[in-house]
Assembly symmetry: C2
Homo-oligomer: 387 residues x 2
Amino acid sequence: MKYSKRILNTPASFIRRILAISADPNIISFAGGLPNPTSFPMEDIQVSMDSIIRKYGDKLFQYATTPGYEPLRQYIADKYNDQHQLGLTADDILITTGSQQALDLIGKVIINEGDGVIIEEPGYLGAIQAFSLYQPEFLSVPLEQTGLDTATLSAALQQPNVKCMYTVPNFQNPSGLTYSKENRLKVAQMLQGQDVFLIEDDPYGELRFRGEPLPYIGANDREHSILLGSFSKTITPGMRLGFIITRNKELMNYINIAKQASDLHSSIFSQILIYDYLINNDYQTHINKIIDMYREQSDTMLAAMDKYFPDYVQYTKPEGGMFIWVTLPKGQSAMELFDKAMAKNVAFVPGNPFYTTDDSVNTFRLNYTNSTTDAITEGIKRLGSVL
Amino acid sequence: MKYSKRILNTPASFIRRILAISADPNIISFAGGLPNPTSFPMEDIQVSMDSIIRKYGDKLFQYATTPGYEPLRQYIADKYNDQHQLGLTADDILITTGSQQALDLIGKVIINEGDGVIIEEPGYLGAIQAFSLYQPEFLSVPLEQTGLDTATLSAALQQPNVKCMYTVPNFQNPSGLTYSKENRLKVAQMLQGQDVFLIEDDPYGELRFRGEPLPYIGANDREHSILLGSFSKTITPGMRLGFIITRNKELMNYINIAKQASDLHSSIFSQILIYDYLINNDYQTHINKIIDMYREQSDTMLAAMDKYFPDYVQYTKPEGGMFIWVTLPKGQSAMELFDKAMAKNVAFVPGNPFYTTDDSVNTFRLNYTNSTTDAITEGIKRLGSVL
């Protein structure tokens, strides 16, 4: 065989193909997962760019240590300690080349071929793609209005090959759903005493526009809890900076070796630039601006759906983040609807790539963060006309 | 098993440990592989930083395409076409998060467990580490003064599991050796008709301070040739930008999928910043400045070795790049010498991590690019005193 089994088993990103189709500026696209460009603090970053060479010198340009820039890791530890009382030190943080790399590193370190990976259904396709390279068996657990279906989770946890569990507890991608406090507690109880790594991927957690912040499922577990964060949704995805948090020293040591082998370290230039931005600006005021915008965009989309969608079409009502998930009546095809919508110059992502099995296709994902409110209303009106 | 077999089989970077030991400013360190900071064009990059937001706008900060910034890929294609007549288009180039990621992506795409990977002995430890994650069998071929030992190569190419061959043809790391034109032609002939990928890793090629540039071994092979390049040794390693070149479309498609899964794309901010620097400055004049400095540093080290090392100690004479390789008489231990040298506050890298087997340890690597000429002379004098 010329190529590896693992690459032949890994799907190309369906979304990247959809994005290519819908790049035409005449198309109203709800297909992407792009932050609104107003979430990029460009003027403040320009101020940092004007001074970082003077302030930090040639270490911006030289090789750097694998875990990442220590003051940035300390900043992250302090923030999570303030907001979530996790008792972190800088050594519990490793900077990654975007959260996508965190998924690859975790796959490298813990997944053997055939290992069971519990994942939400629908699940984040970037995780499905990253883990697929390590040839696991996906164990799907339905995600419902208030969190995971605990009966299915219980059965999955009893599988002899189960190794880890991947969740997006806040404003999940693709569903927009948030695990309730009760569901988090129940899941934490079910995991107690199990030798199963819990990966909580939380790129959107700061972008809550309704309701109260909730504790992480693994907040009290030092050994099995892995938390992923990112600057992509709040400062810039273009610089590719995310981070892995775990208080398990042995696991962190293996992640560090995998990181050395994978890209040595993430851009120290970008790490210092973001750090300089963070310590010299009011980050929360910046976040609040994004939250206000996304709330308005989400409300506009929901109001239009209420007005233009037939009653038999169901959809989620996000408390934050970037997505709404739509469910058509059983038997209707989201792929067929995609073709009809494209004929009206509207794009979305059919649900297919968010399932590890191919049998549920009456769902699709809408993104509201990268369209004007006028475009949102017009796009939903057109979509309603083909439903 | 809690962790993956692959991570348990992957060595931690020995060099990163040595660097930690030798970070003390009182130590004269020839252990690193760091470019001299004067190779970073900081003033010219500051000029680009002053204008890129105005010139390129929010696309610096947004998600970007997986293969990389098209104008940068076109720039690279044009350069290799000018210098090496490879007939490349931008689509033959994929930007990676440093060359280290190129090694990881290639391992992901082509290596199954047990596949044969031909590698130079001594070989680049970053490649040994990256490929180890995919659990190959390393097939070592001795690297001699003028290139690979062709008798051993011939035997390795007859192994039924052989999948790819990894080489650093110019100023190899760790040996500083360069394949002669005749050896390149001979190796190319031996590979002809074989279904074996040839990976030529060339981060130092532009830093030739003696002799004439030589053609790539795979220059005439469209299907099996993979060429790796980097901006780390000529502009900045800190931004982590390298690239993969291959004219094999099927292979490039798989590398693209592996890149999506691994980190989605490399920093678009850094890609555009480097591109803006490249098109607005005289890059060759900058390179010439680095070459002049490294020639002087190399000459200084060689002159000191000639003066202070006993005659029975052998060493290579590089035509470019960053390293000199020293061979002690058979039976002497480079690890023991390391301890004696550290007692004199001089550091180097013992040869051990550059072998896939553990039996040759009478060799060590010296780096000359990151020390002043005075420090080079003093350090070699001290090293000579413990030989």
